[in-house]
């Protein structure tokens, strides 16, 4: 690392600190802002959920943190601090040195995230080859240890198998094994259970939790699943149309949302739905990124909308207890 003079990170410092992140996406019809001033931070041992519907910018935020954005997208502003330095300003080679030992990621679809033509043992051992310079044989032993840890039966034999020879749940375990290989500070899990059966989902979530406790990792969980957030996360960042609309601890945000969008999401959980009655939903759909309104991003769907919302975009402001929301009228929600 270049900045050896940086102060040693203490336990209280966030493992990952994202500040004012902006990502632009070039499309056929021009450049649009896909992520607009997103900030959050997460400490080791804690889990932060990035919650939002498809296209709200949560995955794009995660991919810019690990430096895996598609060529069409580029980070145009903000800072991503890890171990006290802004990794957006590092050279590609310096970022590669952090990829694995400091920052790591698990994807949704483990079948395509594993290389179909390499034995899984070799893929899981690869971080040790890249970062620790282990020999093929030593890396294989490490891979077998990890496979044992994530619960792959007969790991020694299975290390020689190829991804298509595993079930979906086992593949997700392999992917997780690969991601935690070098004990990263921060593990980003991009919808890690979306492609799985419900029973397998629970197993994978438990495995992630155990690994997090054991290795004291900060986890950023990207999801659109409110139940997963409620069960698994400590803090939540609610995203809408590329911006953060609310953030706080899961307990408080879910108990008393201070943004109409968050409340709409929570209200649409079919708790006691009756047959024949339409399920509650947030009316309308999110704006196209090329046509995000100039005032509040949520104005078109908001039940509380009034003239000020069209005129002026609410900034994310603290509402006490370390929470914040981007709504001019968040106090009104409390009174309901």
């Amino acid at each position: 690392m270049t900045t050896t003079s940086a102060p040693a990170p203490s336990a209280a410092d966030p493992a990952l600190d994202v500040e004012g992140l902006c990502v632009d996406l070039s499309t056929a019809s021009g450049t649009v802002r896909a992520v607009d001033g997103v900030s959050f931070s997460v400490r080791r041992g804690r889990t932060l959920a990035l919650l939002g519907e498809s296209g709200c910018g949560k995955s794009m935020t995660a991919l810019s943190v690990v430096g895996l954005l598609d060529p069409a997208a580029s980070v145009t502003g903000g800072a991503v601090r890890v171990r006290g330095e802004d990794i957006l300003r590092l050279s590609p080679a310096e970022r590669r040195r952090l990829a694995g030992p400091v920052l790591s990621i698990v994807f949704q679809d483990a079948l395509t995230a594993l290389n179909p033509v390499q034995p899984v043992g070799r893929q899981i051992g690869e971080p040790f080859r890249i970062h620790r310079g282990l020999s093929r044989r030593e890396a294989r032993e490490k891979a077998i240890e990890l496979m044992t840890r994530v619960g792959i039966p007969e790991p020694r034999q299975r290390a020689k198998s190829y991804p298509h020879q595993f079930s979906g749940g086992m593949r997700q375990r392999l992917l997780i094994a690969m991601a935690v290989a070098l004990d990263p500070d921060v593990l980003i899990a991009d919808e890690p259970t979306t492609a799985l059966d419900v029973t397998v989902q629970a197993q994978i979530m438990r495995l992630l939790r155990d690994l997090q406790d054991e290795r004291d990792m900060a986890v950023v969980l990207i999801t659109h699943d409110l139940a997963v957030v409620a069960q698994r996360a400590d803090d939540v960042v609610v995203m809408y149309a590329g911006t953060v609309v609310e953030q706080g601890t899961v307990r408080e945000v879910f108990a008393a949302p201070r943004h109409p969008y968050t409340r709409g999401l929570l209200d649409s959980v079919p708790e006691d739905a009756e047959r024949g009655q339409p399920l509650p939903a947030v009316p309308g759909s999110p704006p196209e990124l090329s046509a995000v309104p100039s005032g509040c991003v949520f104005q078109d769907r908001c039940p509380l909308v009034r003239e000020r919302c069209v005129r002026e975009r609410p900034s994310l402001r603290a509402t006490g207890d370390g929470r914040s929301a981007a709504c001019h009228f968040s106090e009104e929600l409390d009174r309901d």
Binding site: L68, P71, R96, T112, A113, L114, Q118, E126, I130, H164
Partner: protein, 309 residues
């Protein structure tokens, strides 16, 4: 794998027999060799004697039967032209063609993989645009034109390279290989680029990068082997084209390969040699196709598994 090979070889047998029969009949449609080999003043007796000696007096089905019986004993007859055994002539000529094709494809594949991968790593970059332009041009240039221009510029005007023959040092390879190389190279760069672009955007490549893999490791360790299937298929087809279609290059540069042998045999109505040469190329082409399939199985475990054991 053994079952797989046996199946592939057996399934090649039928088309092979068809090729043999086709060539046999087509060759006889080119005319009577007697007219070509005896002087115009030859008497009827002389013509009859020549025909009988070569077996041309028999009916076509009878000639076919004799040919097949002999072929089953690996006797493919003798050349009318030289009196040599046809098998021998083919075995003399074939290595020349194989060497040309081998060297050409080796260079084309290596070059195309390097340049195509570089171009694919950053789509629409300057490198990519230059590579696309070059490969498109290379794939579109007619080989006979390139050969003649090569002879004109490097052989005649600059007097740097020999224009014909197989005697001499490595420089004799330059013009024939360059001529043969240009189209396969152009085509392969495009294929490599295309399949590398899609391989490089796959999630497993992102994961490899998330592990801190260098661009070289990403390209050659992860993406290339996934991208290689279409490349192998096209490379196989192109090699078949080289084995089969080296006629022009061998004729222009005077290389005594199988293409030249075939052309000469057709012009001289040298049926035995023509049949042996075509059979030899056909067998090679079938063998190449099997080789491509084996390569697919070697590079992709999913193909390997799909083959019934």
């Amino acid at each position: 794998m053994v079952t797989f090979l046996r199946k592939r070889i057996l399934s090649s047998a039928v088309p092979l027999v068809c090729v043999v029969l086709g060539v046999f009949f087509l060759a006889r449609m080119t005319g009577n060799p007697v007219d070509l080999y005896l002087p115009l003043s030859a008497t009827a007796e002389q013509r009859a004697e020549f025909s009988a000696a070569q077996g041309f007096d028999l009916s076509v089905p009878a000639q076919l039967w004799n040919y097949l019986v002999d072929a089953a004993h690996l006797d493919f007859g003798t050349s009318l032209r030289t009196g040599q055994s046809a098998t021998e002539m083919v075995f003399d000529a074939f290595p020349v063609t194989l060497q040309l094709a081998g060297v050409t494809m080796l260079l084309a594949i290596t070059g195309a993989v390097l340049i195509g991968s570089l171009a694919a790593y950053r789509p629409n970059s300057l490198v990519d645009r230059i590579a696309s332009l070059l490969s498109m041009t290379a794939a579109s240039i007619p080989d006979f034109w390139f050969a003649v221009m090569g002879v004109l510029v490097f052989g005649v005007s600059l007097d740097l390279l020999p224009t014909s023959g197989t005697l001499g040092g490595p420089e004799i390879w330059v013009l024939p290989v360059a001529t043969l190389l240009i189209r396969p190279f152009g085509v392969l760069v495009q294929v490599v680029r295309g399949s590398m672009v899609s391989a490089l955007s796959a999630p497993y490549v992102k994961i490899a990068r998330a592990k801190g893999a260098t661009p070289r490791r990403v390209i050659f360790g992860h993406a290339l082997r996934n991208a290689v299937t279409p490349v192998l298929t096209v490379a196989g087809d192109l090699t078949v084209g080289l084995v089969n279609g080296a006629v022009i290059v061998e004729t222009i540069f005077g290389w005594p390969g199988i293409g030249k042998l075939m052309i000469d045999s057709i012009l001289q109505r040298d049926f035995a040699v023509l049949q042996a040469a075509v059979l030899m190329t056909a067998v090679t082409i079938f063998a190449l196709n099997i080789l491509v399939d084996v390569c697919h199985a070697l590079t992709d475990p999913r193909v390997r598994q799909a083959v019934p054991a």
